[in-house]
């Protein structure tokens, strides 16, 4: 074979490869257009961005059920991250992703989890929160709406961390995390030093009159996270704190089962002082949140911090 022939063949081969790549790209694109997925994705991305902008601009509370008859919602996955509505075909992102920007209001606590092939989208907006889900969550609506209560301006900042009766390593990690973040924390149980028989009396002795917040952690059966608050005069404020805690947990653990409820007569784990705030976060022992104790700790810390944010404008800060 002559040298010139080899050079010419290589050029031909290169041309064929380029042609094949272009043909594949073009046919892939034509297939998407033929299946209408590209058009549907763009339509839905823009429409959902407009819906998000609209519900955020509503002055009051709103719950909007989004069922678009001209498009098949359940064909796609929906992400609401980085101020973009993004639609994709599958979790492994084989298909083309289509994104469109939307506005976010920084004053709203957003809970915008990714949704896999939902049959409908439910947008819930309250005075302080924005949530998107694939089903109506009555408990969530109630939880978000209770954020309307204004925080008290607290004059004394003392936190009692009550880490419960259980010797659970994740619980201890969460307690340690919260203790490290607080200047005024008094932990009722360090589990390394305290003896079980002294525990109850010692725990009660730490709750003093000037205690602003008694923050309890407990473990029970089940997979739900329940925030329990008292039914006395401070219940509105405690309920507010419960709301903020659950808002933070919802953002960080979108798949977790979250509820809140007032204290019942059978609850013996909620300890309060005469005037202060008190909540107990009851963690189900089968809850997925235990897989990431530091994230759980930071979520709870953010919830407490959110509560004290307005109070700290007039007082010295409680949390670092």
């Amino acid at each position: 074979m002559k040298r010139g022939e080899i050079e010419v063949s290589l050029v031909l081969l290169l041309g064929l490869i380029i042609f094949a790549v272009v043909a594949l790209f073009f046919f892939g694109y034509a297939k998407q257009v033929a299946e209408k997925t590209l058009f549907e994705k763009r339509f839905l991305a823009r429409d959902l961005a407009l819906v998000l902008n609209t519900v955020q601009s509503v002055p009051g509370d709103v719950t909007l059920y989004y069922v678009e008859p001209s498009a098949n919602l359940s064909r796609f996955r929906y992400h609401f991250e980085n101020k973009l509505v993004t639609l994709s075909d599958s979790p492994n992102e084989v298909g083309t992703r289509v994104s469109y920007p939307f506005f976010t209001d920084s004053s709203l606590v957003s809970s915008l989890p990714s949704l896999d092939h939902p049959s409908q989208l439910v947008f819930i907006k309250t005075a302080h929160a924005l949530h998107v889900s694939d089903h109506e969550d009555t408990a969530l609506v109630e939880r978000l709406s209770c954020s309307r209560v204004s925080q008290l301006s607290l004059s004394k900042e003392t936190l009692v961390l009550d880490s419960g009766d259980q010797m659970n390593s994740a619980l201890v990690q969460v307690t340690d995390y919260l203790e490290a973040k607080s200047d005024f924390a008094k932990t009722t149980r360090t589990w390394k030093t305290e003896l079980p028989e002294n525990l109850y009396a010692q725990r009660l002795s730490l709750i003093e009159k000037d205690t602003s917040l008694v923050f309890g952690l407990d473990i029970q059966d089940g997979d739900a996270i329940t925030v329990v608050y008292p039914t006395d005069a401070s219940s509105e404020q405690s309920k507010k704190l419960a709301c903020l805690l659950l808002d933070q947990l919802a953002q960080n653990f979108p798949d977790a089962v979250l509820t809140s409820r007032p204290q019942q007569s059978s609850d013996d784990f909620l300890r309060i002082n005469s005037e202060g705030l008190a909540v107990v976060v009851v963690l189900g022992d089968e809850s997925s949140v235990f897989a990431d104790p530091s994230r759980l700790g930071s979520s709870l810390f953010s919830g407490i911090q959110e509560y004290f944010k307005s109070a700290s404008e007039t007082n010295t800060g409680v949390f670092s």
Binding site: G15, L50, P59, P101, F103, S106
Partner: protein, 190 residues
């Protein structure tokens, strides 16, 4: 026949002819394919044009949102829709920062806007002896896009201009006077 004779006579020449012809077609095919993709993309984008709606929604949001330009009473949790406090509006730096927080967007943003408050005759208000200057939402981008919006060309690289006017009340101390809010929204073509 001619082909076979040529093949027998000069194989190098034959390959040269084929490769040259093929080589010419490759960029043409690529260009045609890309042009078809561009055309269909443009057709989809044109049929899904939402800029006009987005600009109207933005103006509504400005007037209805607690963090917009209307007077908001946090104690009552009530927005006085269409009532603008002149003192707040004249503090352009604060209001521009507030709008950026209330309408956080990707970078570059979805839109930028200029808000101008005048009386019904188009005359600017004065506050503390100074003329109240327009408020710019996404100031940097507005200043860039306003140049592009003047282009006679259309398509990517240009910007649409939408102008909306709303009659409002302007609160000056204890008095409410009628006014006109003109919002010029710039949306880049994408």
């Amino acid at each position: 026949m001619f082909f076979c004779e040529k093949l027998m006579r000069n194989r190098r020449g034959l390959f040269s002819d084929i490769s040259f012809t093929t080589f010419l077609y490759i960029p043409v095919i690529i260009l045609v394919a890309l042009f078809l993709v561009y055309l269909s993309n443009q057709a989809i984008a044109y049929s899904l044009q939402t800029s006009d709606l987005e600009s109207q929604l933005f103006v509504h949001s400005l007037l209805l949102s607690p963090r917009g330009v209307s007077v908001y009473d946090p104690a009552l949790d009530r927005v006085f829709d269409g009532t603008i406090d002149l003192a707040t509006f004249s503090d352009s730096a604060h209001l521009e920062a507030q709008l950026r927080e209330a309408f956080q967007s990707v970078d570059p943003p979805l839109l930028s806007a200029e808000l101008k408050l005048t009386d019904l005759h188009g005359k600017s208000f004065e506050s503390q002896g100074k003329i109240v200057s327009p408020i710019l939402y996404q100031k940097t981008w507005f200043e860039r896009w306003v140049v592009l919006s003047g282009s006679f060309l259309s398509g990517k690289g240009t910007a649409h201009v939408y102008e909306e006017q709303r009659y409002v009340f302007v609160r000056t101390g204890e008095r409410l006077v009628p006014g006109l809010l003109t919002v010029r929204v710039l949306i880049p073509e994408s």
